[in-house]
């Protein structure tokens, strides 16, 4: 597991400790994360990885799993 991914899982676990974020891949579709969680998550990720996550990146494909979030962060870091 990459360092980015494990940090993201740690942040997610802070939001919902009862969810298995290593396997769950429908965080948005199954309504596990609501809009409050998403904004809190973005604030945490921006703080942790020093990236800017613009509003147009807030789509289910980028937030449905910890892995999708890690991919988005890595993509933003590369830009």
């Amino acid at each position: 597991m990459s360092e980015t991914l494990s940090t993201i899982i740690e942040i997610l676990q802070d939001l919902h400790e009862d969810v298995d974020f290593e396997t769950e891949n429908k965080l948005i579709d199954n309504k596990i994360l609501d809009s409050f969680d998403i904004v809190t998550l973005i604030s945490e990720l921006s703080n942790e990885f020093d990236v800017t996550i613009p509003a147009d990146k807030i789509i289910p494909e980028n937030f449905n799993s910890a892995q999708a979030l890690a991919n988005m962060i890595e993509e933003l870091e590369d830009e």
Partner: protein
């Protein structure tokens, strides 16, 4: 023009016949013609506003797209010679230029809305504030006639422009087609606020006549008319009476008013949306659903996910998220973490964005303090209930009976009553009076009105009550069946003949139980005024 006007109904039937009679490639033009005629009927001057919105959106979105294309071509052309940082800096510069065009479009259009909808409200408040400081506040208060549906078509069109800026999809190249998207007549009165990528295909395709789809569409239209004319219009006199004389109708009357207004608003708003979506279904144009059985919600957050869905998702996508994740907000969050601690700091963007969104949601409903207070009260309850979520979860884990159907029913009733209480701001349109009426429910103690015949003096006869009660039971039953999927479709799949009988029954229900009578004049849809 109202959906209940006979001119609208006969015009609609003629449109359906014509739509399927003419060649496919002309069908969207027919819809555009019908939309212009519908809008012009409400006042020729209104056409100017919608034309300005359509033309400015068309011109600026095309400009934004062309700029994005040429920026992309420039980056490709210098792929080898530019470093990654140079490319990034160039892209950011170009994006800022496109953003300025978008801001111009938003300022122009929301500026029009601000002046005509909020100009008078703002000037009245400025005059009041000047009066507090001992200066005579006599600035002129402008009065404009609000163009029909402006809050709906403007939000829909600005959502489209933001999506084009975000490169979610390509802009519409044909001005007339964009004008149809902006002005599509069924949704002008009270929404839903559609997204271009979801609506446009059905709108321009020129769809085939499919008997099943048309039948289901007609049923949905009739179902909408039933809610509007048999329930909402029928209970209207009682609601008007209860609201208009707050001195006489306080205490338990105020509670009865909450229940009656809840039924009226639900039947009126969902009825109008049913008619809109039904028209779309007949024409083969799928539209976004605006309601998902809101009174089955177990809490306020869930309620707002199920009531007026398209407005709430609009605010979420185009205001809540951009505001929450913008640079100044993230900087504020970082500062709050350092000064106030991690727990408080990370929630700062959520709190500020929630309050801002609900302030504007209130303002969207009307230029008056009662709507603003209503919006802010929603924000406060949402934030408190979010904060208490861990406590609720512990409660549900500890007490297993709290996960049973009866307790869920209790939660749904509690949410419905809470939302009804908040709606008192909408009823009384006066903030201190609303609080006074709310308090009167707890100390007045006039319970006797429930059995001494007082409720029969509210402009409703025993027959009216029977129709309202039966109608409410029908609504509830339909909602219960609807939990397992679309009722009408399941019925049609089982037996087209039974489905046909349902259509006839709905037609008869509208004809027999509609609140017509001598001098009948259907009321305007409540959400039309927003």
């Amino acid at each position: 023009m109202l959906f209940t006007d006979s001119l609208f109904i006969f015009g609609l039937i003629a449109l359906f016949i014509l739509y399927f009679a003419i060649a496919k490639k002309y069908r969207w033009m027919l819809l555009l013609g019908a939309s212009i005629a519908f809008y012009a009927y409400s006042g020729w001057s209104n056409l100017i506003y919608i034309a300005v919105t359509a033309a400015s959106t068309y011109g600026i979105t095309r400009k934004i797209e062309k700029m994005a294309e040429s920026a992309s071509a420039e980056v490709k052309a210098h792929k080898a010679e530019w470093s990654r940082d140079e490319k990034k800096a160039y892209k950011e510069r170009e994006k800022k230029k496109r953003f300025r065009w978008l801001v111009l479009l938003l300022v122009l259009n929301f500026g029009i809305l601000a002046v005509i909808k909020y100009g008078a409200f703002t000037m009245r408040n400025v005059n009041s504030v000047m009066g507090w400081f001992g200066r005579e506040g006599n600035l002129p208060v402008p009065q404009f006639l609000l163009p029909m549906g402006i809050s709906f078509y403007l939000f829909q069109t600005m959502g489209y422009a933001i999506d084009v800026y975000r490169e979610k999809y390509s802009c519409e190249k044909n001005f007339a087609k964009l004008a149809l998207f902006v002005s599509f007549f069924p949704q002008l009165i009270q929404g839903p606020i559609s997204r271009y990528n979801e609506l446009s295909e059905g709108l321009y395709a020129g769809n085939d006549f499919e008997s099943k789809r048309v039948m289901l569409g007609v049923q949905r239209i009739l179902w909408g008319y039933f809610k509007k004319v048999a329930l909402a219009d029928r209970i209207l006199p009682a609601v008007t009476m209860l609201i208009s004389d707050s001195e006489q109708y306080d205490g338990i009357y105020a509670f009865i008013g909450i229940l009656y207004y809840t039924l009226q608003l639900y039947a009126d708003f969902t009825g109008g949306i049913d008619i809109t979506i039904g028209i779309g279904q007949v024409l083969g144009i799928p539209m976004a659903e605006n309601f998902q059985r809101p009174f089955f919600s177990k809490g306020i957050v869930e309620y707002w996910r199920r009531w007026h869905i398209t407005l709430n998702t609009w605010f979420k996508d185009y205001l809540f998220y951009p505001l929450s994740v913008c640079q100044p907000m993230l900087k504020l969050s970082k500062w709050s973490r350092e000064k106030l601690g991690k727990t408080v700091g990370k929630y700062v963007p959520v709190y500020i964005a929630t309050i801002a969104v609900w302030f504007l949601t209130g303002l969207w409903h009307g230029a008056a303090w009662n709507f603003i207070v209503w919006g802010l009260m929603n924000a406060v309850i949402i934030l408190i209930s979010e904060k208490l979520t861990p406590l609720y979860e512990k409660f549900h884990q500890k007490y297993k009976w709290s996960n049973t159907r009866p307790y869920e029913g209790f939660m749904a009733i509690r949410t419905t009553l809470m939302m009804g209480c908040l709606r008192m701001f909408d009823c009384y349109r006066d903030v201190p009076l609303t609080f006074k009426m709310f308090a009167s429910m707890f100390y007045k103690g006039n319970f006797h009105i429930l059995w001494d015949g007082s409720l029969m003096q509210l402009g409703l006869s025993a027959a009216d009550y029977i129709v309202l009660l039966a109608g409410t039971v029908i609504l509830f039953t339909a909602s219960m069946f609807g939990r397992k999927g679309e009722v009408r479709e399941r019925l049609y799949n089982k037996s087209p003949f039974v489905s046909c009988c349902l259509t006839v029954t709905l037609f008869l229900l509208v004809m027999i139980f509609g609140a017509y009578g001598i001098g009948y004049d259907s009321s305007q849809f409540i959400y039309n005024q927003f």
